[in-house]
């Protein structure tokens, strides 16, 4: 058991190491480098040399990788090019803002998804199921930027209930942020909820068809007691992994949503830093987003492991 957990954590670190290699090589082979982008037309002679020395680009690539990685582990990602400020300081408020957005979406999304999933499963192929399932298919297939644009058009422009575009400084306080995040949170929560509700539905249906549930019915266990005691605990366990993957997958969708709402989070920073060719920031973002993905998955795996007695004795399949 302990061995499995340690092995799983080690695998996560190996994945992150490969990610760091990929992003380093990926940004390394971009034509031009930080200095030619920064100096633009003055990129020659003494100035270029000075810039290389200042950013430490005059040493071989593998040495730069090692020093970059050592610093990154300590949370120091170097300096961003455009703002000339430490990336740590650029990232801090952005991470906070994105976390606010993501956690609000998760806290709203998960309970709704559970209720919708259970309702659709218990009333399978009846009216509630057909209606809710149709809506979830729409919600999860339509691209984020379309649902976000429609939300702005209908709620902000036509009904004038809420502001459509977030116009706040990056380091805004939480209370000021609140009315601004309602629409982005709805846009993100919609897709996530739809995915999870579908997952919960099929999981509950599977358990309902199993032998021990049939047995419980034959024994005369009351319906709702059967649902809460026999079905749900077993149905929700496999859902944890998929929920984790869905959340991690949303990292990509959050980028688009943040751009649509002009929200000052990590996602907009991705676009800004790539447009500005701010490679140190791109590297930092890749590592941070990958770490979030890896840790969410790790957490889900460990939770499944802890909660499932059957898995305690078995090897987890990779």
């Amino acid at each position: 058991m302990l061995f499995l957990i340690i092995k799983r954590i080690l695998l996560g670190f190996i994945t992150l190491f490969i990610v760091s290699l990929i992003t380093f090589v990926g940004t390394e082979i971009l034509p031009g480098d930080a200095c030619t982008t920064y100096l633009e037309r003055q990129a020659f002679g003494e100035q270029l040399e000075a810039c290389y020395r200042r950013l430490g680009l005059n040493v071989p690539a593998y040495e730069r990788y090692v020093s970059w990685a050592v610093n990154a582990i300590q949370g120091d990602f170097g300096y961003s090019l455009s703002g000339e400020m430490p990336i740590k300081e650029v990232l801090g408020p952005r991470i906070k803002n994105s976390l606010v957005l993501a956690s609000a979406a998760i806290f709203i999304g998960i309970p709704i998804a559970l209720i919708l999933g259970i309702v659709t499963a218990l009333w399978r192929d009846k009216l509630p199921d057909v209606a809710i399932s149709t809506v979830t298919i729409f919600a999860m297939t339509i691209p984020e930027f379309i649902s976000a644009t429609l939300l702005i058009l209908i709620i902000a422009i036509w009904l004038e209930w809420l502001p459509g575009i977030v116009i706040v400084p990056t380091d805004v306080s939480f209370l000021e942020l609140l009315p601004n995040i309602v629409l982005p949170v709805i846009a993100i929560a919609m897709i996530m909820t739809a995915h999870m509700a579908r997952m919960v539905r099929s999981s509950v249906i599977q358990v309902m068809a199993s032998e021990y549930v049939q047995m419980a019915i034959l024994k005369g266990v009351p319906y709702w007691k059967m649902v809460f005691k026999h079905v749900l605990p077993n149905a929700l366990l496999p859902a944890i992994n998929v929920v984790a993957l869905t959340i991690a997958w949303l990292l990509g969708g959050v980028v688009v949503t943040e751009v649509v709402f002009n929200y000052p989070g990590l996602g907009r920073l991705v676009i800004e830093s790539i447009s500005n060719r701010d490679l140190p920031t791109v590297q930092a973002l890749a590592i941070i987003l990958a770490s979030i993905y890896v840790s969410i998955n790790l957490l889900a795996d460990l939770m499944t492991l802890m909660l499932n007695p059957r898995l305690k004795t078995l090897q987890i399949r990779k």
């Binding site: 998929v242 980028v255 993905y293």
Partner: protein, 297 residues
């Protein structure tokens, strides 16, 4: 009746099999709707250059932001271009690029997954670690990097999308291969001394083909979503090519008084993605594969 003739009766031609699958798909309401939408879009993509009433790049300053009328069915955009013309042409690029992209994803993802599942051991471990690493980088970051590195031409977008959406197929193909690898017919093929290549081609591919095809169909709709997001962010096709993602991002700023210019491409793109999704779902059900418990990796 000889044994041989019974065997021949059971063997159906490829055409018969395909048409049977399509009929099963269309027998469900959701599958029928999905197929109809998809076929409509494919036909539209082929004939739209011939039926488009105006030139998609003809800019006319006197006709800026006209409301829908008999002359301009969906109105005009901020440059006075006909929105109807641009909407019916807007799916061509996206459909073509994502179709070939998913073919590439299917090929490399499927073959690598089968290979890893078959050989196992060290090679499998190393490849899967690298695939995991690529999976943990958000697709949008990776795609944006590639596009800003190599440009937004079709020759870049197709392989780049194909590569990035294929890594999930590696896992599916590998898992499907693991399911058949312990079966008797593989063991006996090994005992007969067949090479790995022969085992993959004759024994494994026919058995994992369905699972991989379904995965590929699903990838197609995700890739379409990803590609239009790229266009929307300004990293996809370049103007003045009519493209739904690009049209939405252009018309978005003016939608408080010219909502038609944003609604038309929204309807176009949403219906195509929903169509492909429903079709892929029906396809999975017709082949007897349950995908409802899969996460969008």
């Amino acid at each position: 009746m000889t044994v041989n003739s019974i065997y021949k009766e059971e063997k159906k031609s490829a055409f018969q099999k395909v048409s049977e699958v399509i009929i099963t798909m269309a027998s469900r309401p959701s599958g029928f709707i999905g197929l109809s939408i998809l076929i409509f879009h494919i036909i539209l993509a082929f004939i739209s250059p011939y039926i488009a009433p105006y030139d998609f790049k003809a800019i006319n300053p006197t006709l800026m932001l006209q409301a829908p009328s008999a002359e301009y069915w969906f109105g005009t955009d901020d440059l006075g271009r006909d929105v109807f013309t641009r909407t019916i042409l807007g799916g061509r690029t996206a459909l073509t690029i994502t179709f070939f992209g998913s073919l590439i994803a299917l090929l490399w993802g499927g073959l690598l997954g089968i290979f890893c599942g078959l050989v196992g051991g060290k090679i499998d471990d190393i490849v899967m670690r690298i695939v995991d690493a690529f999976l943990s980088i958000p697709w949008i970051l990776a795609m944006l990097l590639i596009v800003s590195l190599l440009g937004t031409s079709t020759e870049v977008l197709i392989p780049a999308l194909g590569f990035f959406y294929g890594k999930g197929i590696v896992r599916v193909a590998r898992a499907a291969t693991h399911d058949v690898i312990a079966k008797d017919f593989i063991v006996s093929a090994r005992a007969r001394g067949h090479s790995n290549f022969s085992i993959i081609w004759n024994e494994i591919i026919p058995n994992v083909r369905d699972a991989i095809l379904v995965e590929g169909a699903m990838r197609w709709s995700w890739m379409l979503l990803g590609f239009s997001s790229l266009s929307f962010l300004g990293f996809g096709v370049s103007p003045p090519t009519p493209d739904w993602g690009l049209m939405i991002s252009n018309a978005r700023g003016l939608m408080s008084f010219a909502y038609w210019a944003v609604i038309a491409p929204i309807v176009g793109l949403s219906s195509l993605i929903i169509g492909i999704n429903l079709t892929a779902d029906a396809f999975a059900k017709a082949l007897g594969i349950d995908r409802s418990t899969k996460a969008p990796v």
